[in-house]
């Protein structure tokens, strides 16, 4: 029972990181019907930025803040510089550009920092919390991870629901034609979506790197799990991406915990299994509404 609690809590903590990546993918998908393969690479790169700031200033929070800002800038610049020219061209063009961007960012990180694993600091002690004498399997930092992603997600949800900018983004995502005909500058909305996605990716990168170490490919597997979470939840659904992330995080945590020494090697397989099962019963993801998309 204690084990179960531990696995669940640590699964939630990791799941929130998958959720952040998933949500970043959903934001871009909704605006442009494009899967951003560079999302992990962008997150990795902004984490290096944080690493550099922390090294020079000695302040974790300065690094944290700069990483998020760098994520916003990188997202917007990537969209304006390399994605925008491919809009209106065959869809595969933009997909290949995102893969190119990924290779570019990982290559650049490799040139600047080499391939070695670097340890990245955590905001809080990573000593396990206890309830009385029972270890909970999570640290204060894990709690911070979950809280930070949750807070960011809630802020975004409120922004989408209650602000004019949020309404513009939703309108553009649901019906580009009507949005443009109503005077909404959809191109700007798309840039904003990329900027927010960059922010979420940067958050995920900073939060996950204390556990995974930082190296040019360090976000690859996180990207894959984040993508899986997004598909499980339904690529169109921000809420679904969070639920998908949590589901996946907890499931992988159980797999890693209960399947013994092989468990951690099997996580990818478990993720694939969940994906297949979900897609068999809900081809558009758990949170897909009735099919309303028009051609």
């Amino acid at each position: 029972m204690v084990e179960f609690l531990q696995f669940t809590l640590s699964g939630i903590s990791f799941g929130m990181i998958y959720a952040a990546v998933a949500l970043s993918l959903v934001l871009i998908w909704r605006g442009t019907r494009l899967l951003n393969f560079a999302q992990g690479g962008m997150a990795m790169f902004t984490t290096y930025v944080a690493y550099e700031v922390i090294r020079h200033t000695g302040s974790y929070w300065a690094g944290f803040a700069v990483a998020l800002a760098a994520g916003v800038v990188l997202g917007a610049v990537a969209e304006l510089a390399v994605i925008r020219p491919a809009l209106g061209k065959p869809e595969l063009n933009a997909v290949i550009i995102t893969i190119g961007l990924l290779i570019f960012l990982e290559g650049l990180a490799g040139i600047l920092y080499g391939g070695q694993y670097r340890s990245f600091p955590a905001a809080f002690a990573i000593i396990g919390l206890r309830a009385g004498s029972t270890p909970l399997g999570v640290s204060r930092f894990d709690v911070f991870v979950a809280a930070a992603v949750l807070a960011t997600t809630l802020l975004l949800a409120i922004g989408f629901r209650y602000t004019s900018a949020g309404l513009r983004m939703r309108a553009a995502a649901f019906n580009t034609t009507i949005a443009r005909l109503s005077g909404i500058r959809v191109a700007r909305v798309i840039t904003m979506g990329w900027a927010l996605a960059g922010l979420l990716g940067a958050l995920a990168g900073v939060l996950v790197s204390p556990s995974t170490f930082l190296y040019p490919n360090s976000m690859d597997s996180i990207f894959v799990f984040g993508f899986t979470a997004a598909v499980i939840g339904g690529l169109d659904s921000p809420a679904g991406s969070v639920v998908g992330g949590l589901l996946l995080g907890v499931a992988l945590s159980y797999a890693g915990g209960y399947l013994g020494s092989q468990g951690s090697d099997l996580t990818a397989l478990v993720a694939l299994g969940i994906l297949v099962v979900v897609l068999m019963f809900r081809p558009d993801g758990i949170f897909s509404g009735p099919r309303v998309r028009r051609v």
Binding site: A179, L181, G183
Partner: protein
């Protein structure tokens, strides 16, 4: 014809009132196919112009070109005499041209009120005051009571007639100078169709909006229009007062099917 005095905007939203629209020698198409081969149409301020013709005559392309959805290959689009040719739909909307495309006027995934608020996106930046927004919504709900009852419902749950009401209400909120309507009566029951047409008339008369109305239902359209234009294969074959067109038996038989 001069624009009538007293064309009022929603409180606080200042556009220049009704505008005349002129399309001069417009050429537009898709790929190798030309849908419009030199179309000239003028719509005086605060009038209703019906654009009629068979399928493939170029009616929808004409509206799409005016609203910037299709880039013209030649000719000019003048709003109150100012050249707007080649602008994108966002700019056209902000210049005061509202285009309601056929059969897809509402965003089904948004609530009724959110759909109405979309109408404010083309407002000049200076008009973003909370009171103005509230006033515009209140005015729309006052005119369309059925929408007030459903303001929190998703637009996708509305009936066809209610959706068309919502589209027109949104146009009212947007305070356009020119309203382009593509087949607003398509798929509606006759009674609802009459309501929609009445609304179009009121919108034009009371709010001083210049309406360009594309319709398959030529008889109904000519009944409410000031002028009619008949397109055939991308060219204007007739343009006259609505009454004159409706009385032209040969033209009706040949192009309008009634």
């Amino acid at each position: 014809m001069n624009s009538p005095a007293g064309a009022q905007g929603v409180q606080g939203v200042h556009r220049d009132g009704a505008a005349s629209l002129a399309v001069v020698d417009l050429v537009a198409g898709y790929g190798e196919v030309l849908a419009l081969e030199g179309v000239t149409i003028t719509a005086d301020a605060a009038t209703i112009t019906a654009v009629l013709g068979a399928n493939g005559a170029g009616k929808t392309t004409l509206l799409r070109a005016i609203s910037g959805m299709v880039r013209p290959r030649g000719g000019q689009i003048l709003l109150d005499g100012a050249d707007r040719t080649g602008r994108g739909p966002e700019d056209m909307a902000r210049a005061g041209i509202a285009h309601v495309p056929e059969g897809q006027g509402v965003i089904a995934e948004l609530t009724v009120e959110e759909n109405l608020r979309i109408g404010m996106m083309s407002w000049p930046g200076i008009a973003w005051r909370r009171a103005d927004r509230a006033a515009a919504l209140a005015e729309a709900y006052e005119r369309f009571g059925v929408l007030a009852d459903r303001r929190r419902k998703l637009a996708g749950t509305l009936s066809g007639g209610e959706r068309q009401m919502l589209v027109i209400a949104r146009a009212l909120v947007a305070r356009p100078r020119v309203l382009l309507l593509d087949e607003p009566s398509l798929g509606l029951a006759p009674r609802v169709m009459t309501q929609v047409m009445d609304m179009v008339v009121r919108l034009s008369r009371e709010s001083g909006i210049t309406v360009v109305l594309v319709e398959q239902n030529a008889r109904g359209a000519l009944a409410i229009a000031d002028r009619g234009v008949v397109l055939n294969l991308g060219r204007v074959v007739a343009a006259a007062d609505a009454k004159t067109l409706a009385a032209d038996v040969a033209l009706r038989h040949h192009y309008l099917g009634f």
